[in-house]
């Protein structure tokens, strides 16, 4: 296990996404070689998608307005990999931001300085270290990643740079240019189409805390046996699910699965993260209700390979309906949290050390 691949001097074997092949969770086992029929089906699918998008995305908005459900259904089946980068920009609203802000990205990268520069540099080589694009020290991958993160930390100095953003930016950069990736990051965090996600990274990580609260309650409602068992074993969502939200599954999940989740995430919003989380637990229900604390912690970070199959996991995820509860839980959280925050302020006043 030690020094794997570091000094063997041989070019590592890569999977179809450019990651060094791993012992486990490799997508190759899930993706059999395709038959002629499957190839034809894929070709048809691609033609449909091209028609839907139009040249450079010119027909997209029109199509979405006319047939939103067709779009939703097709996206849930997975965006064709060769169109992914473009479609992501269209559905996230980032393409509009880009067009409205010519020259801004360049300005941020070249002329501004950021207080986070050293923090970013330190994490660059620790972001997707097994991907060929990011492996070369100061290579094009690392430089783009640095530029996007630095630009964002200048663009929004209150957020700055927070660990985890690198995985999001790193994933985007595999499908689009620096400037496009930057604006997609802006679209997500500032909420171009869906609710803004900057709270995942702001001081106090308020949105992480809210999502953990919501996820915990949803899990207890839909999977009460797991909820009960987790209470007994003192497992709470921050021990396993905070990464799911902070990096939208890009930190430790197999890439082919992360991409499929991202397709839906960008079109439907963060609720897919809740749904996939619930589906994962449901899929592994029988194991999870049996395991003791330490084995649970391990399991929840290393789901079995068959649970990582998007064609099994995602349909299960879609079957959870969470919108209404998420809204209710959010209000409940805000109510409780408002009170807690106030009572803490009162308690802390006499000491005022910090």
């Amino acid at each position: 296990m030690e020094k794997k691949r570091v000094d063997d001097g041989v070019t590592p074997r890569l999977d179809r996404f450019g990651f060094a092949k791993q012992e486990h969770n490799s997508p190759e086992r899930l993706v059999r070689s395709k038959s002629a029929v499957e190839h034809q089906r894929e070709e048809r699918r691609l033609r449909k998608w091209r028609k839907m998008i139009g040249v450079g995305g010119s027909d997209w908005k029109h199509y979405v307005r006319r047939k939103p459900h067709v779009v939703k259904r097709r996206i849930r089946k997975g965006i064709p990999d060769c169109l992914r980068g473009l479609v992501w920009q269209l559905i996230s609203g980032s393409r509009d931001l880009l067009l409205m802000n010519p020259g801004v990205y360049e300005q941020l990268v070249i002329y501004e300085t950021s207080a986070s520069e050293l923090d970013i540099i330190r994490d660059i080589s620790r972001t997707f270290p097994s991907h060929v694009f990011y492996q070369q020290r100061h290579g094009p991958g690392q430089r783009s990643l640095y530029n996007v993160l630095k630009a964002y930390s200048v663009y929004d100095r209150e957020v700055g740079y927070v660990q985890g953003m690198g995985f999001v930016a790193g994933l985007l950069l595999l499908y689009m240019s620096e400037e496009d990736a930057f604006w997609l990051l802006v679209a997500l965090l500032k909420g171009a189409v869906h609710a803004p996600m900057e709270g995942l990274y702001l001081e106090g990580l308020p949105l992480v805390q809210q999502y953990m609260f919501q996820f915990d309650h949803l899990m207890r409602e839909y999977l009460p046996k797991i909820g009960e068992h987790f209470t007994e074993e003192m497992i709470n969502p921050s021990m396993y699910a905070s990464q799911w939200f902070i990096t939208v599954f890009s930190y430790s999940f197999p890439f082919h699965l992360a991409l499929r989740i991202w397709d839906v995430f960008l079109y439907e919003g963060v609720k897919i993260v809740f749904k996939v989380g619930l589906a994962l637990l449901k899929y592994c229900h029988d194991d999870l209700v049996k395991l003791p604390f330490e084995k649970l912690i391990h399991y929840l970070r290393n789901f079995p390979d068959d649970a990582m199959n998007p064609d099994k996991l995602l349909p299960m995820a879609y079957s959870f309906k969470v919108s209404k509860q998420l809204e209710e839980l959010k209000q409940e959280y805000e109510k409780i949290n408002g009170k807690v925050a106030k009572s803490q302020v009162r308690q802390k006043q006499p000491q005022s050390a910090a």
Partner: protein, 214 residues
């Protein structure tokens, strides 16, 4: 959130936290100690990670439940919850980056704000293999540790230098405090049901034991 019970056999279960600035090598110290692995290409830790290892102290099996936390300041909002119930801490800095040593004081305060006063703290200067890049002198760290009443060791997770000793020392010290307290108070810590956190005069630890020894 105290220490937790586990299936395998042990006499004591101690919760230990790994803290310190981002990039000082906490995760590699943990993987070196628990799995004897080191990776130059590890990902930055998002949130918290966890691993365990049991060692023998005297004739007892002491199990360490070690929480590895994200180092970036912003993450303290969610990682400080994991300090609670910890009876030991490795406060790590990077001997090649002086700023990580300067921040030790803040980490220490953070730790003392959230844990029992009897917590065993080991100051750890990691990356000691990078001799030509050293920016923190051993004497400075030694005198800081003396002043703050913490233990101190320099380690290299890469070269496997002192990693074992650092963890073992912390666990042994905790063990001695717990067994001394138990002796003084005249009762056996084993009287506590398995899996519950007990407080032996400020030091919380778990002793796995029968329910009938009172």
């Amino acid at each position: 959130m105290g220490a937790y019970r586990a299936e395998d056999d042990y006499d004591y279960l101690f919760k230990v936290v790994l803290i310190g600035d981002s990039g000082v090598g906490k995760s590699n110290l943990l993987s070196r100690f628990t799995r004897n692995e080191f990776s130059l290409e590890s990902k930055s830790t998002i949130g918290v990670e966890f691993a365990t290892r049991s060692i023998r102290v005297d004739d007892k099996v002491v199990k360490a439940q070690i929480w590895d936390t994200a180092g970036q300041e912003r993450y303290r909002a969610i990682t400080s919850a994991y300090y609670r119930g910890a009876v030991g801490a490795l406060l790590v800095y990077d001997v090649t980056r002086h700023v990580t040593f300067e921040n030790v004081e803040r980490w220490l305060k953070e730790l003392r704000d959230h844990t029992d006063s009897n917590i065993v703290i080991m100051l750890v200067g990691n990356k000691a293999d990078l001799r030509h890049l050293r920016a923190v002198q051993t004497e400075d760290a030694t005198s800081f540790a003396e002043k703050e009443h913490t233990y101190f060791m320099e380690t290299s997770a890469l070269e496997s230098l002192n990693v074992e000793s650092a963890f073992t020392e912390v666990l042994t010290q905790i063990y001695q405090i717990v067994s001394r307290k138990a002796l003084e108070s005249g009762d056996d810590a084993a009287a506590v049901p398995k899996g519950q956190t007990i407080n032996v005069d400020d030091v919380s630890a778990v002793k796995k034991g029968g329910c009938c020894s009172s």
